[in-house]
């Protein structure tokens, strides 16, 4: 298995493909069943956000190896409308109200590390990591 791979997100079936890719990597790295489901759910949310609100984008999965720690990185990139108020999107109330960035607090909770970068009119880039315990 390569150290990285990606899926283009254009239609809804690509969400399934991204989930599958994430699950394969998570299994390969030795994540538990529950953690596999968590990683997959996080990927699903990120891909869904791209599909619904940015139109198209890309989910990449990377194997991580940092000072003996192994892990998995999910990167979601789109060139959609971007997020104007990141503070608001990361609030809990917003997560179920729908719209761009919905579900991001959930993704943050499912993973170990989370970073977001967004510019209005240019797009959004999200990185989420999970480490093997």
């Amino acid at each position: 298995m390569a150290d990285q791979s990606y899926v283009q997100i254009i239609n809804e079936w690509d969400i399934v493909a991204a989930r599958q890719l994430g699950r394969d990597y998570a299994k390969d790295l030795g994540f538990s069943t529950v953690d596999q489901a968590r990683i997959t759910t996080a990927i699903s949310e990120l891909a869904r956000n791209i599909y619904l609100y940015a139109g198209k984008g890309q989910i990449s999965i990377y194997k991580l190896n940092s000072r003996g720690k192994q892990g998995l990185l999910v990167e979601a990139i789109d060139e959609g409308p971007g997020i104007a108020d990141i503070r608001k999107v990361m609030e809990d109330g917003f997560s179920t109200s729908g719209g761009l960035g919905a579900g991001l607090p959930g993704v943050k909770r499912l993973m170990d590390e989370f970073a977001i970068d967004s510019e209005v009119g240019k797009g959004t880039r999200i990185e989420a990591k999970k480490w093997l315990r």
Binding site: R19, A37, D92
Partner: protein
């Protein structure tokens, strides 16, 4: 078919599909099912039951199949897991906010604090309970150098923090009033201008302001659209509404207020309140004014503080311990 039955049908299909071919797509369907179920308020114990029913439907299942379906159940439960995490964080925030509200309520308490005047000829009782975290009702007594007692009772239209913010301002405005306390009309006209200038145009305030003169035993008062008070005649054991008209504070900066004077007989009572007292709501609608008077009569021979406490307790229970509005009740009884 009810939406629950429909959901159950849907889940059975997903389950059958998964048993035939346990693909990522089936798991994705399970995730979408989870979202829908949560939206519909289906609780997680029902999910367990739906899953069990699905398994029981399929008599050809063997033990290994059944174990494998837990992968699907796990996927559905992920959505609930997210809500569980959100719940934990909401609980934490709620605790934080509760602490913040308690501090804010203390700040408000310090600001609005008033002593009940101790004066030979009057027995005074007062209670004010917020419906939410903070009080948008307000009452204040001043026992001045001429031995007169002034009483203000006010209600911001609205409850909670916005009302409390507004009330703090009014209290501050009252403190900075020049020494015209004996003139209720003037007090209301002055406050009306403050409210009109400083407060959000959507907020209004009702206020009753009165002054008891312990020499002449007259009560001089004006009202700015406030809930009418009640007068109790001891000799005839009867209640009467205290008449007073006037526009709410904050509507029109040029409003003029009328001033009324009433002579108070020994053992008579002046009962002032906010609309939270009369608008106590039960499941059967608002309580009747009659019910309120009945409750008042029941405690008419208690001392004034006991009387307001007991009436509050009774009305609180009538409302099933859920106040819909801030509740303020004041009783002044002429003793001698």
């Amino acid at each position: 078919m009810s939406f629950r039955e429909e959901l159950e049908q849907q889940y059975k299909q997903i389950l059958r599909g998964f048993l035939k071919n346990p693909t990522e797509e089936a798991l994705y369907q399970a995730q979408n099912f989870s979202k829908k179920a949560i939206e519909q308020g289906i609780s997680p114990e029902e999910i367990i039951n739906i899953h069990r029913n699905g398994l029981m439907d399929d008599i050809s299942l063997n033990e290994g199949d059944t174990i494998q379906t837990f992968e699907l159940l796990l996927e559905v439960m992920m959505g609930y897991g997210l809500r569980f995490r959100e719940y934990q964080s909401l609980r934490f925030k709620q605790e934080e906010l509760k602490t913040e509200m308690e501090i804010a309520a203390n700040v408000q308490q310090t600001l609005l604090d008033t002593d009940i005047p101790q004066i030979d000829c009057l027995d005074i009782g007062a209670i004010s309970v917020p419906a939410k975290h903070m009080n948008g009702d307000y009452f204040h007594f001043v026992h001045d150098d001429n031995n007169c007692v002034s009483i203000a009772i006010a209600d911001v239209i609205g409850k909670g923090i916005p009302a409390a913010l507004c009330m703090s301002m009014i209290k501050y405005a009252m403190d900075s009033l020049p020494e015209h306390r004996p003139d209720p009309r003037y007090v209301l006209e002055n406050l009306n201008r403050v409210v009109e200038q400083n407060v959000d145009p959507s907020m209004f305030v009702t206020m009753f302001y009165g002054m008891y003169n312990p020499v002449s035993h007259t009560f001089t008062y004006s009202s700015a659209g406030h809930e009418p008070g009640i007068y109790y005649h001891a000799n005839s054991d009867s209640f009467e509404e205290i008449e007073a008209r006037g526009l709410m504070l904050g509507v029109d900066r040029h409003t003029k207020y009328r001033q009324y004077v009433k002579y108070i007989q020994p053992n008579d009572m002046i009962i002032l309140m906010s609309d939270g007292v009369t608008e106590c709501r039960t499941d059967d609608g608002f309580i009747e004014r009659e019910a309120l008077l009945k409750s008042m009569r029941k405690y008419i021979h208690s001392n004034a503080q006991e009387m307001v406490n007991q009436i509050y307790k009774e009305l609180e229970k009538l409302q099933d311990f859920e106040l819909r509005d801030d509740f303020t009740l004041i009783v002044l009884k002429r003793k001698v």
